[in-house]
Structure formats: C-alpha cells, structure tokens
C-alpha cells in the first residue's frame, strides 16, 4: 500500500526559534518522511572556537597566556580570561593539564562521534532531499482537532496550554522518494554536527567548515536504516517577520529543529507556494497584516511592501534570481508595481509612468549584464555605416538564431555608431542598440543565453521592442493617459523576458499571485 500523508498524522515539535525577535508569525505544520536509522551520535557544541583553540594549546603543552597568545596571535589578556573559563568548566586543572573530562570534550568537539545510536532522519516528500538534521527521539507536539478536522497546535505549559492555529500543508500527490542509504545518513549527521558547531545558529550550515571537523573512524557498515518504510510526520515551525526594522521587509521560517532560520525550508515553501494558493495566502497574510499595522508611517509601510515585493519576485523567478546582478532592478520594478496596485485608483499617471521606467531599467540592466558577460569585439566588422546594409545583417542574424523576421523597424534602424557606443560603455541606457549588440554577439557564441531564449520565444525581438517603445515613450515625456492594464502587461512582459534569459522558472506572462 502506498504511503500518504493524512491530517491525523503525528506532529513533531522540536522547539523552533527565530533568529531574531519576530513581529508577526504564522505556525506551519510541514510534512516530512521520518526514517528510523542507526547513525553516529550528534552532540551539541560545548566549547566556543576560542575555548577549543586554547584547550588544544593546553593539550599541546602550551600553558601560559603569553605562549598561547604568541601562537594564536591573540592578546594575552584574552587568553588568560579564556583559560579561566575552561578552568571553571573543569576542563583543565590548576597545573594547566587537561583533565579527563577536558580530553573527552576536546575529542567530541573535533571528531565526529564514534558512538552510533538509533534515531531519525527526515526527507522532503517532494524532492527526496534529506533534512540536514538527525534526532535521537521524536518529540511529539500536543494537538487538538478543530471541528473542520485540522489540528491546532497546543503550546504553552501543562498548566496553561495555549492553542495556536497552524496551517497544515498536506501533500496531495507526494510519494515516498528514494530510500536514504548509509552515505546519505552519515552526511546528514555530519551536516547537523556542523550546524550545531556553527557560531551563529541563525546561519544555516551550507559551506565547508574550514577543516575543524574531521570524519572520525566511523564504520559505515554500522550506519543503516532500521525500518525501510518511513513514517509520515509533520514538523511544527513558524514563518515570521523579524521585529528589526532593517530586515522587516523579509520573511523567514524557523528551522523546525531549533537552529534558527532555515533557508532549506524557505526554499521548499517558495517552491510549494507556486502550486498551493493557500500557502501563498498564508505568506501574504503574514506580510499583509504587517502592512496594516505599518500604515502609520510610510517608511514602515514601504519596508513591508518591499518584503512583499521580494516574495513576488521569487514567485515569478524563484529565489535564484537573487544571485543575478540585475535583481535589484527587478525588485525595484515589482515594488513600484505593488505600490500602484495598493494605491488602486488613487495611482496617478506619474506613478504609473514610474513603473514603466523601472521596467525599462530592468531590461537595460539585463542587456548590460549580457554584454558584459559575453564579449565579441569582432561584431563591428560585420556591420557598416550604411543603414540598409546593417539592417540586413541584423535580419540575417536574427533569422539564423531562429527569431521571427522581419525585425521591428526601430531595431532595424539602429546605427553602427550606436552599437559601437554600447559596446564601449555597456552600462549605458540605450536599450535598442544593446539589444542589437547582444543579437550580433550571440551569433558568435554558441553558449549565449539569447540562443536558448530565441528557441523558446521566436517573437522575442517583438516583445523587446514593445517594452522599449512604451517605456521609451514615457521616458521621453509621454503625456497620454496610462492605464493600469498597459502597465501590468509591460511588467509581465519584462518578467517573461528575464525568465527567458536567466533560464529561471516561471518566465511566463501569468500575473504574479497576489
């Protein structure tokens, strides 16, 4: 019988905690497959990095603050203070010799435990990815069933239980993924150990730990699954908006295992939001409520709007868009768009025009990036000062790349000198010459993103021309009445183009979920 998630499945609560004080939060019960396994024990950090280094010095026979200071290049007073701390912990004696406990702790801090214990690892039901967490014991959350059959989380104390509404995200079509093997399980415990040793719990462990963690003598044969069939569970955690004004625009989600904010879960939530409107609405509510509260000050409101804009961009282009250099421009466009959307009929023509300008800036930044990343100085040789000749080169190039021809007239009219100018100064704002220069560059570069974009959208040049023309008209003092529909279409068009060139998902013309 195929395994599936039910509303009545076990809810686990490992005391999730935010990386910062939160202003607003929403509880979520997130599904996972729990596998019972035998794996190396994961221990919490007992020493900070300085204490560990100083204890290591004592073990090596360097016992004076001055000696330690010389070797660690840190001040002798600080070393003396830390030596006092580890003396207080009973890790060294008054002669400066590490105690038995001190040696044990040092070993535990530097080697992965050799002791294997029974416990659980957790798997994402959609991707099969394992959570980088290992727990020895499941900690069951108390829940109470609402009349609609969904559970409320019951927190608080035994003496004063506090029911909290929680959104249960039940995968409709989730199936069991590849069963984790010994190597996967070992990797989970290794990553969990590293996360625990990380100095800042809010920073999820992603990178290598600089060699401070060694693989001990784990016999991989001793690491195994106890049961092949996983157990469906829900991990209780919460989404939150930090109280700190600087980061208030951004939402986070707690690691369900109590290690601060989780980028792993945030990614999973953003992925699911695209398919599950209720989840999307939950995040919207989180941001929306804050919006309501922030109306007293425009500054606060704008910050919160920014959070919503970030979410909107991620929904359209996935969180990977943050890595691209023109992300700031995309965000600016979404922010401007959301602002007029929230103002509704109160949006003035200048406001609407402002959105179009940001849309054009995104397109300019995109092409500036393409020109910077894919250089081909020879392209000028192919075109002449004769406009008709140049136009025919542009057309044949476009046709060779699979783009629809004839070219829109304004693009065909781009002069050689304009192309030359943008090649010299790719950070400029002349959009049409940049488009043409990119077109010519792509002909010589088999890995140029325009080739894939052209394959997916043969009308790409027409789309670009529409953006250039409406935005350009406004930029140069257009005075006609603008409609919200025209603005929305242009924004959607820009998202579509960015999606095509970046290769990120959702480069469609569908409006963002709002």
């Amino acid at each position: 019988m195929a395994l599936s998630f039910q509303r009545e499945d076990t809810v686990l609560y490992f005391r999730p905690r935010a990386h910062a004080r939160w202003r607003e939060r929403r509880y979520v019960l997130w599904p996972a497959w729990a596998y019972r396994v035998v794996a190396p024990e994961v221990r919490e950090r007992q020493l900070n990095v300085l204490q560990k280094a100083v204890l290591g010095m004592f073990r090596a026979g360097v016992t004076t603050p001055e000696g330690i200071s010389t070797r660690l290049h840190l001040h002798a007073d600080l070393m003396a203070f830390i030596a006092g701390e580890i003396l207080e912990k009973g890790l060294i004696d008054h002669q400066g010799l590490p105690t038995k406990l001190g040696l044990e702790v040092l070993e535990q801090e530097t080697l992965q435990s050799r002791r294997v214990v029974a416990g659980y690892v957790f798997q994402d039901p959609w991707t099969g990815e394992l959570w980088p967490r290992f727990v020895e014991r499941l900690q069951y959350a108390e829940t109470e069933m609402k009349p609609n059959g969904y559970p409320n989380l019951v927190l608080g104390t035994t003496g004063k239980p506090e029911p909290r509404p929680a959104y249960l995200h039940r995968p409709e079509r989730a199936s069991t993924q590849a069963t984790p093997d010994a190597t996967d399980i070992l990797e989970v415990t290794r990553r969990h150990g590293r996360a625990l040793r990380h100095s800042d719990p809010s920073m999820e462990e992603e990178e290598e730990d600089g060699g401070t963690f060694e693989l001990g003598t784990i016999d991989i044969e001793r690491v195994s699954l106890i049961e092949d069939r996983p157990q469906p569970v829900y991990l209780a955690t919460y989404l939150y908006l930090p109280e700190d004004a600087d980061t208030a625009g951004d939402w986070h989600v707690c690691d369900p295992f109590g290690l601060g904010a989780s980028t792993f879960l945030r990614r999973a939530i953003v992925r699911q939001m695209e398919q599950e409107p209720t989840l999307s609405k939950l995040v919207d509510q989180l941001l929306g409520r804050a919006l309501g509260e922030g109306m007293e000050g425009v500054r606060a409101w704008m910050e919160q709007l920014r959070g919503k804009a970030e979410l909107g961009v991620e929904q359209r282009l996935t969180s990977e868009i943050r890595r691209l250099p023109y992300y700031a421009h995309v965000l600016e466009m979404e922010l401007a768009y959301l602002e007029v959307e929230h103002l509704g009929t109160g949006s003035s023509n200048p406001k609407l025009r402002g959105v179009l300008l940001t849309a054009r800036r995104v397109t300019e930044a995109l092409f500036a990036h393409l020109l910077g990343a894919h250089r081909s100085p020879d392209i000028l040789r192919r075109i002449s000062r004769e406009p008709e000749h140049s136009a025919s080169i542009y057309t044949s190039t476009a046709a060779a790349l699979g783009l629809e021809v004839p070219l829109p007239q304004p693009l065909a009219n781009v002069k050689r000198s304009q192309v030359e100018s943008v090649l010299k100064h790719p950070d400029g704002w002349r959009l049409r010459p940049m488009i043409v220069a990119t077109l010519l560059t792509a002909r010589d570069d088999n890995r140029h993103p325009l080739r894939e974009a052209a394959r997916r959208e043969p009308r790409l040049l027409n789309e670009l021309e529409l953006i250039a023309s409406i935005a350009g008209r406004e930029l140069h003092g257009g005075d006609g009445a603008l409609s919200m529909t025209a603005v929305q279409e242009t924004v959607n068009r820009v998202y579509h183009v960015v999606g095509l060139f970046s290769g990120l998902a959702n480069g469609t013309r569908n409006p963002p979920l709002r």
């Binding site: 214990v117 020895e136 014991r137 035994t158 004063k160």
Partner: protein, 489 residues
C-alpha cells in the same frame, strides 16, 4: 547513573539525559529529561525485594487502560540498575497545597485567597479532581493517597489544568486490600485505625478533607480544642473520635479559624460535608461518592458571580460581595431545564403524561388539541424543574459546555458548545462546535437558530426570554432560559 553524564535507559534501550532535579521525596527524586517534555522519576530503595515489588507495581500501572485521564503516568519503565519511570513533564504546575495552606509571610487571608483565583477557581479545580478520581473509581481503581501534595494544578491563577502525580499509588480495589498508605491528615478513620486498606471510600474521605480545606482554609476535624490540646488529641480527632468542626449539634470541636462557611460552601456542599464528616466518620458507607462531589462542585462553580470591585467570586445568592462589600452587578441567570417531548403537562392538575394517552391519568381532563408537545421534566431539587443553573455578567461570558448541555460529567465534559455574552441589555449567542441550535420564544410561536454567526435578543429584568434548545426538538434534551437580574442596582 554516572556522575559526569547522568543518564538512564528505558526498557526499549532509549537513553535519557537527566537535567536538573525537580523534586525529592522520601522514596525517590524526579529529574527533568533533557531536550523534551519528559521527566524521570527514580526510586531509591536499597532493599532488593522492595525494589522488585515496586517495579512490578509500576509495570502494572503502566499496563492499565487509563485512556487520557489526567495522570502523570509511567510512559516507559527504566532498565536496571534503576527503578523508576519516564513520565510527562509537568510545566507551569504547582501542588494544590499552594491553595490550601496560607503561607506564613502572607498578611491577608482574603488577598491571598483571591490572588489564587478565588472561590470559583477553587471550586472548579476541586470539581475536576473529584471528576478524575470518580473516573478512576469507575475503572475499579483507587488512587490510595489523595493529598494536596500529589494533586498538581495550573500555577497561573486563571488556569484550570490538573494532574495527579505519583501514579505508583494506583491500586485495583480489593476486599483484601492491605495497603494502608495515606498522608497524615487525609487518611480515613478506618485507615488511621489500621482496620482496613485503601478503597474508594478512603479516597472519598481524603478528597472531602482536601475540598473543605481548600475552600474554607481549615481542617474539618481539627478544631480549637484539638489544635490547642495534646498531640494525642489530634490523633484521636483524625481517628474520628471527635465531632467535626461544623457539627450541627455537638460544639466540642468548634474552630475559630477559616473562612465563614456560608461564603465558601453552597448548601448542597455543606450537606456533603455533613455526610462525610458527620455520620461518615464512623459509617464509611454514609460518605458521598466522588461523582456526587464532582456534580455539586461544578454546580457551585457555575453559580458564582464575579465582583467588578475586587475581582473576587462569590455565590450568586449572596446579597453583596462578601470580600469587599461591593453591590452585585447586573447578571443573567441561565436556567437549564429538561424537555421531554413525549410528555405533556395536564392543564388542570399539572400532572405529566405521555402524548399517547388521550386524557390525564389523574384528573381525566382530555388531552387538549394542538397541545405543545414540549413539557419540562422535574429537576434534582425538590419542587424545582431546574437541572442546573449558571451565571454570566458583562465581564464574564458563559461557555455552555458538554456538561451543562447534557449533564454528562467525566471525559469530554469540558468541551465547549456555545458562548453566551451579555452586552447592556442584549444577550448574544454563538455556537462554538459548528452545530446549529434552535431558539424558540417563550410562547413557542416564534423560532430562530444559533450557529457560528452570533445572534442576539433583548432581555428585560424579571421577564422570561427566548429559550435555547441544546438538542433536537423531538428528542429528550436540555433547554436554557435566560433571566436578567439587576438586584443590586
């Protein structure tokens, strides 16, 4: 348990790291388990035979089908060399002793009494305790040692949670019970005399002492003569050789301490005390059972009113607040009546008879045409139709629970069904469980419904109101009538 790393292992091989010690008694200690909502109770006893006996007793308790009774029961047994068990960690809870014994440093009994939640909270906590013990008795089990030390309640003064600890006290009732454990002051006279073992009646005695002490702040058997006399007199009093302090005729053991009983005991609670500490001292079968205590304590709590002056609570029958003498606020008395649609009431002699009969069996008056098929059944009090009553004010809304709606006591009886609020002279009703409840005007000519959307109607002082039906009209069900009272205004 090693000194450096204190840990214990259960029968399934699961290891538990022990955190801080939460408490220690004569038999053992309780430790917090690291990283979870668990605690471990470790029993220290050097006698191997006693350890084995205790381990077997705990195993038996663990196997008992206790459902979700509010007991800190063994979840897992510990493996040798330890004797003990892992149980739920009680957070935010304190022993009931905090509500029964005035601390030495407290100057005002009244202030301290009110800061602990006052009369209504004490009544409610005691009702729930009685309810829990009654459910254990229903399973053939006795708790053996009820005392304010092993009944834990919410630490917050607005909390009503409850847990019995020391689950190793649980025993099956047996005529040959040899266990004679009790906490001094709470043992039934036959236990103190060593005549019998523990049973439901010894639990009932212990509970009655706890209830009286929690409400009146004085021990029911320790009057001035005893407390000021020789220690032997106290032992004699606990053996039942003195009258209780409020004996209606025998004044030998009167107490000058405690809160006046009229303030804290309803007439029906006084009656239970009289039965328990009067005849019940010598005739154990005269003691009321725990279910009776539960029902009457709940009813007493329902009939309390919140004082807007001091925040205290008191019986609605009082003329003013007994704690601060403030006038009574306007309140609504909700009367719960039982309606049996197959019984009709004779218009001439008020005799009830079924609709199948063509005439009144007593006076032979013919059954009227188009008679209202609803008639009210007599309640538990002589001469009254009321099954229960509850009070609400503008400050304190009423939640009609399963218990008030059906009279059912025990598991699930606290589940909320409806909320009733008073705003000015209008009453607002809202369903809390998703059901739809019929409303009918007093004359029966108009009807309405209460769902999740609140409905409201006006109230006139001293006049009847719309009636809320807590069940299907064609079935036996409770109905509620609301009456606005403005006595103190």
């Amino acid at each position: 348990m090693s000194g450096g790393e204190r840990q214990v292992v259960d029968m399934n091989g699961m290891r538990y790291r022990l955190g801080r010690q939460l408490g220690q008694g004569g038999q053992g200690a309780v430790f917090e388990v690291e990283g979870g909502k668990l605690a471990a109770k470790l029993v220290f006893d050097r006698s191997a035979s006693r350890r084995d006996r205790l381990r077997n007793q705990l195993l038996q308790v663990k196997r008992l089908a206790l459902g979700d009774l509010e007991l800190a029961r063994p979840l897992e047994m510990l493996r040798n060399p330890h004797v003990g068990y892992v149980m739920e960690l009680l957070t935010g809870m304190v022993p009931l002793k905090r509500l029964t014994h005035l601390p030495r440093e407290e100057l005002s009994l009244t202030q301290w009494y009110l800061s602990g939640g006052g009369l209504r909270r004490r009544l409610r906590l005691l009702a729930r305790t009685a309810d829990l013990l009654s459910q254990l008795h229903g399973k053939g089990l006795v708790y053996s040692d009820p005392s304010p030390h092993n009944i834990f309640v919410s630490a917050a003064p607005d909390g009503h949670e409850l847990r019995l600890i020391d689950a190793d006290n649980l025993h099956y009732q047996s005529p040959s019970a040899t266990t004679g454990i009790y906490t001094p002051g709470y043992g039934a006279p036959e236990l103190v005399r060593g005549l019998r073992g523990v049973d439901t009646l010894t639990d009932a005695h212990a509970f009655a002492v706890i209830a009286f002490q929690t409400l009146a702040q004085v021990h029911p058997l320790l009057g001035d003569t005893v407390t000021e006399g020789e220690p032997e007199q106290e032992e004699a009093a606990l053996r039942g050789e003195f009258p209780w302090i409020d004996h209606p005729e025998d004044e030998r053991n009167r107490s000058s301490l405690g809160i006046p009983r009229d303030v804290v005991l309803s007439p029906r609670l006084k009656e239970l005390c009289q039965h328990t500490f009067g005849r019940g001292l010598t005739d154990r079968l005269a003691r009321p059972g725990l279910s009776t205590w539960a029902e009457r304590l709940h009813a007493a709590a329902d009939a309390t009113l919140g004082c807007p002056g001091c925040g205290g609570t008191y019986y609605v029958t009082a003329s003013a607040c007994p704690w601060c003498d403030s006038a009574k606020p306007a309140y609504v008395l909700a009367s719960f009546l039982l309606s049996d649609p197959v019984v009709i009431s004779c218009g001439a002699c008020r005799t009830g008879y079924t609709v199948e009969e063509a005439e009144c069996p007593r006076c032979r008056t013919p059954r009227p045409e188009g008679v209202n098929r609803t008639s009210l059944v007599r309640g538990p009090d002589p001469g009254r139709k009321r099954q229960a009553q509850a009070v609400l004010t503008e400050q304190t809304p009423l939640v009609i629970t399963e218990r008030l709606a059906t009279g059912h006591i025990g598991r699930g009886s606290n589940a909320p069904r409806l909320e009733v609020r008073l705003q000015g002279r209008r009453l607002w009703l809202k369903s809390l469980d998703g059901s739809v409840y019929p409303l009918s005007s007093k004359s029966g000519t108009r009807s309405n419904q209460v769902g999740e959307q609140a409905v409201d109607f006006p109230l006139e002082a001293g006049q009847g109101s719309w009636r809320l039906h807590l069940g299907k009209l064609e079935q036996l069900h409770r109905i509620v009538g609301f009456e606005l009272r403005t006595e103190g205004r």
